[in-house]
Symmetry: C3
Subunit: 332 residues, 3 copies
């Protein structure tokens, strides 16, 4: 897509310095951008790259303006403005391409003409797609699913039966939404499966990463709020509830029936025990083990710092002697 600097300034509510008719066709990093490309700076470590940039235009705050050798779009939040500009410039101009002949479609499913369903996809019985949805190559949408307008399902996604997905949702390859939760009752030495009768309700504007799994509820539903962003290889267990605009980085696992507030962030590799409640505004650092409910907003952590293995071995063995040490010292 081509945009002039005037169009970009208007769209971003930015102040323009430079050639208002310059045409921009894409984005690149400061040190790689050419005269037809837009770039941005949001951190002073990129200052050397700014000074030498050959970009057509740079998005920046006024504090960098003097150092910018090319045209500039001046905003308060360059990172956000870049996100918006890059989206505008990468917008697809393709219209819907309809349903490929190789697609399997079950009975009573409703697929508007504005949708695109790519080769080898499966849309089972009683599925309802909203307007302008895309279903990628080889994805499977099982029976009874309802999917909101403008949602994009990439290649090779599995949406299990009766899952409800909002509008403008983006689901990446390999994600599985609505697999059975992990629920069993003990019968002597054997496990008896508890049928997972609930479903998953995924809110508007949610993103689900590649190979992420979100299990359906046992009784009642697993609920992911509006605007929730979930990275790759995240595991959301049955009956978890996640508040709006919470973001969860890769490899995090959240156990069953835990409730997470709004506007929380989870760094990568976090584990959260089941049946907890975390309030709004909780931020968990990477690889933290959350074993209790959290009633105050703030930043939480666990784990130990990494060291050379030879040092770590000496300290780690002491961990097992900690209680004894404290008892000895407290006696003194």
């Amino acid at each position: 897509v081509e945009r002039t600097l005037t169009e970009l300034a208007l769209y971003l509510d930015a102040e323009l310095r430079g050639n208002k008719d310059r045409v921009i066709t894409g984005c690149a990093e400061l040190n790689n951008a050419d005269i037809n490309q837009l770039s941005f700076i949001y951190d002073k470590k990129y200052r050397p790259a700014l000074i030498q940039t050959k970009a057509g235009v740079v998005i920046l705050t006024s504090s960098y303006l003097d150092e910018c050798p090319v045209d500039a779009l001046i905003v308060e939040n360059p990172y956000l403005a870049y996100a918006k500009a890059a989206s505008l410039l990468s917008e697809s101009q393709e219209g819907p391409v309809g349903i490929h002949p190789s697609v399997y479609i079950g009975e009573n499913s409703s697929i508007p003409a504005s949708c695109t369903v790519k080769a080898n996809a499966v849309i089972a019985d009683n599925v309802v797609l909203g307007e302008n949805c895309t279903v990628g190559y080889s994805s499977v949408i099982e029976s009874g699913c309802r999917i909101g307008a403008d949602t994009v399902i990439m290649s090779k996604v599995t949406i299990c039966h009766d899952v409800v997905i909002g509008r403008r949702v983006l689901i990446h390859p390999g994600a599985v939404i609505g697999g059975d939760g992990f629920g069993f009752a003990r019968d002597g030495e054997h496990w008896v499966k508890i049928p997972q009768i609930g479903t998953v309700i995924l809110g508007d504007d949610a993103d689900v990463g590649a190979n992420t799994t979100i299990d359906r509820g046992a009784l009642g539903d697993t609920v992911v709020g509006n605007g929730v962003k979930i990275d790759n290889q995240v595991q959301i267990a049955h009956n978890v509830v996640i508040g709006n605009n919470t973001a969860i980085a890769a490899c995090t696992g959240i156990a069953g029936s835990t409730k997470i507030g709004q506007n929380c962030t989870f760094a990568g590799g976090v584990g959260v025990v089941g049946h907890l409640t975390l309030v709004d505004g909780v931020h968990i650092t990477g690889m933290t083990m959350v074993t209790n409910s959290i009633s105050e907003p703030g930043v939480y952590s666990s784990g130990t710092p990494f060291q050379k293995n030879s040092d770590w071995l000496k300290n780690a063995v002491r961990f097992k002697q900690l209680n004894k040490l404290f008892r000895t010292i407290n006696k003194k």
Copy 2:
């Protein structure tokens, strides 16, 4: 499926209080159930919901009977009885639907007429399916696999070549059974792949979660026992052996050639080093790092408790000084 309270009481070996002809058609939580639904109570925290329930019948122990305002099925283990009742009520009444015309079937494969193979599945050469199996949409069963009767493979599963799967197994979407183990020999700076010649043997009544991976053996096989229940995104490396009725929660990884006993449980996010032996009846708490063999049954843990980040930072840095502290104190 419809069942009368008489039928349910008989099936569950339960004592019935109430209308023996009442018809139940499904299950719901105490606070959501209507007159046609069954519910259950197994923990006193649900007592307020019990007192107000509008369920058709509640499964409970006799201790809750006085507080139950509706019909009741009295048992010793309500959780287990609920699992059985819910399974009975959610049983599919559909017969087999045969092999969809879009399915690719290789040479010399045997698929009984009692099986269902859904659209876009692949069944390669020399595959043997038992009676009453289901293969879900877009699943791939590579050449030489043998799959026992009554096994259900959901959508988009991959069973690699020559894998052996038992009876009544349930495999969730995205699981990969029989991928190559991670085995390489060093040749100077380069890695030379060691062909993974073994396979995977998955016992009867095993469950495998969504996007879980179970690698084939290098030489000899990876063996998962009968009744083993594996959650989502679990990684089982080559030549691991898992004893009967062990349960493994999500995001756990077990490294190569480790042997795990029967009736063990692994909470989520556990890591187990390779070439270990864990006896029967070992229980590992969440995110524990198991670095040595375990010869006594019991509960094992590692890790540090989570705290506010500002407190954690102060304590974590002290971890690196632990050995020095102990040496200083021991000198005194």
Copy 3:
């Protein structure tokens, strides 16, 4: 494939003791091998098995020769020699089988006649495959991908648009190469997606495990070097750069823009924070949390040792009191 001991000795540059015309058809462990099979010993714990082996031939160092009751191939590195011999013996004799009629092929894609593309695969527009490639059942190669010669893509892999893959690469089922990176800018309470405009460049001789995810770059590319071996369920975030011949075990996650050197090894379950630099020759033990750059080669670790839960609980609570303890002691 059949090979005589003479052929094997020549291929492995080994000294042969025994019947030079003996024919070997496969491999097995020392205690399972029969007269037609090759086995090997690389660790003294297998000595009892060696003494009783019925293998046709054993690969070993000269130090085991006296104890070997059967023919022997004497080498310096038996593990490496076994890897090479097993590869030779398991080489497929099948020629290419062409493109299955069920495969969807988009416009302007180039697939040499020496390639095999299996049933239900998708090859979208403008894809270029090298000579002798295999694309497995139900895999998806999106538009614009370029794939080098002799690369093998197993079943149910997703290669997203415009990804570049080298020669002799092996990609296991369920892997997703080139999904969007996890990049958002905050706009008040909402997240605005940052288009992920870069791609993934995967070097020659790389291996990618089952259900592993490698995200495309935000701006600029994610780059995986030559000979890099990646196990199952590994997550490589956007703009990560991995040096040649580095090996990464299962369940490891590497956050965005981190640069990893050559000849590094990561054990399972490691987490690496974003925007770090790790030099060549860094080795990280299992489940370590890497929170800072590493400028010296060596072995690094974090975490605490596992214990009986009852002991662990007492020690873990002391972790939260560490800083206070140090302050008290330092005052004395």
